[in-house]
Symmetry: C2
Amino acid sequence: MNQTITPWEVKGEIDYNKLIKEFGVSKIDKKLLERLEKIAKKKNMKLHHFLTREIFIAHRDLDFFLNEYEKGNKVFLYTGRGPSGEIHLGHAIPLMFTKYLQDLFDADLYFQFTDDEKFLFKKDLEMDKVSEYTKQNMLDVIAFGFDPKKTHFIIDTVHANLLYPEAIKVAKKITFSTVKAVFGFTNETNIGSIFFTSMQAVPAFLPCKLKNRKMACLIPHAIDQDPHFRVTRDILPKLGYYKPSSIQCRFLPGLQGIKNGKMSSSEGFSINMSDDPKTVKNKINKYAFSGGKATLEEHRKHGGNPDIDVSYQWLVFFEPDDKKLKKVYDDYRSGKLLSGELKAILIEKINQFLKEHQEKRKRAEKQLDSFVLRV
Amino acid sequence: MNQTITPWEVKGEIDYNKLIKEFGVSKIDKKLLERLEKIAKKKNMKLHHFLTREIFIAHRDLDFFLNEYEKGNKVFLYTGRGPSGEIHLGHAIPLMFTKYLQDLFDADLYFQFTDDEKFLFKKDLEMDKVSEYTKQNMLDVIAFGFDPKKTHFIIDTVHANLLYPEAIKVAKKITFSTVKAVFGFTNETNIGSIFFTSMQAVPAFLPCKLKNRKMACLIPHAIDQDPHFRVTRDILPKLGYYKPSSIQCRFLPGLQGIKNGKMSSSEGFSINMSDDPKTVKNKINKYAFSGGKATLEEHRKHGGNPDIDVSYQWLVFFEPDDKKLKKVYDDYRSGKLLSGELKAILIEKINQFLKEHQEKRKRAEKQLDSFVLRV
């Protein structure tokens, strides 16, 4: 197996168990799920299907975060987005879950837009373009339903007055050797990219600095971002803050199959949050890797394989109803449900999801100002 | 000979001719002095003795800057200070000359306080302390008489909103290989220090960015800062700006002798701008390396050696009157002037200089706000 996972590249079929071991993160176990379910029940909420279906699969120190929360101590959430293009369905996963966590813990969320990162790491990307993506991405994020009173957007180049003075405190404690080992940098890496992880560390303690109190932080993120926070976790106690906790998800598989790593817009096979129903239908019908048999007769006789069928795998992410999902699984397995029919179910599900999103996004523009962190 | 010259370390006896060759800068020649003198005459000013005495000894593209000035195109000056302690007499040299250049060219001056640099490069220095030095240093800088309407202080951590978005544009074009070669960094250098030169580059083009026009920039600085601007000069044309020009001075020798590199406060033998007359007298009498003979008789008979006498060398910096200086030289050479008498001349000169400075500094506090760049 050949897997490459860095914050800037995800390639090959991903063995999550191997990755969890390599990164040194912990699987979310039954005990943690029970604790989360208990908290959810108190809020009349359910355990999110991203948790029961091992989509959010790993964590660091989630227990510590829950301890702090249960003691009644103030906690906060931190996540972010590198604005290098349109938001697509793959990005939606951690965003949906972050919204869930905000409701669950009734917590402030600091949301970082790393425009500097995208500019520095993408050779031909100009800053004007990144700034346009940032604005567009902010509207999409708002559309996920975050609480405007409790959600604070931080844009690296816009909030540099806040971030840079703290980032240098982090940077002073990180050598080139460290980032070389953690991120695979070389002597030809540019010095902005080398510095960047310090900027990504800051929101994990900035609220503590602003409010002058120690607070536990939980970072929901896709597992490829773990290297950043591994470094951050090493440094923060040296600056007098708690190590941030994290909860990490696996990737929405690419349309062309689970062997092709995560869904990536650069490959051209992503479904964007702005796609219209016809585009979605065409993309899924044309590209979604099928677990069905070659002929109708064979399919009816032997059934399809939902484990490799991208449409089914996407329903695992986007169909919250366990019963409905099980029925699709069983029917596809038995051959009762054809590949085209399975795709149709997915198409309807995704289009409904996108329709709601696009409506909310239209109303986001006038909310934008209230989301940007003011200090 | 063993010389180490980086922006953070100057050690050993300095051979300026060798350094000029190594750095690839040009000596200021007669033709340039004549051009400068012509400009000075138009302003009823004289050629500064720092120029005639080869204290400002080297430059990069000074001709280009003068061409632009003579064409009537808008030009500006940029210099800076790393606030890691009190300002001493060594720091006064480029400051005095920058004030002269501001008068000569009637130009805006952008003055950068690199508080981030000092924090990042000095292992045990905390940010609170750097911020205190920054404030104190600003008052000293103001006391040199800069025009409040044309002088703009930039403090790296305070003006990060302005600097960081531009610094990453510089940083994207500099690899670790480059800073490794230019500054002698290693894998154990912290990633903030690695990034820093990008921040020092920004004021060389920020005014062009703010005013949306190309302008020639002249950077007066001590020669140890040349490596930064060598990198800056490589990058700026790629961002659509002129290469900045520079004019570079040698160091005020340390009290203990010209073989000991530049005067350094960390060695404990510096004279600070805040020193009182008695302290100055004691330091010079106690530490200033003498070119005199061992006994009075020998001195009267053979004369002293002004070329190695620190008191005489300091007068080269601080006694603008050529005739007075020549008389001291001749009298000391002949044995007419004793070492103690020479020291007394220097002590009076320095104390007069510091007295005026300290008076101006008292008035600086209420001017501070008007010096800080507002955008």
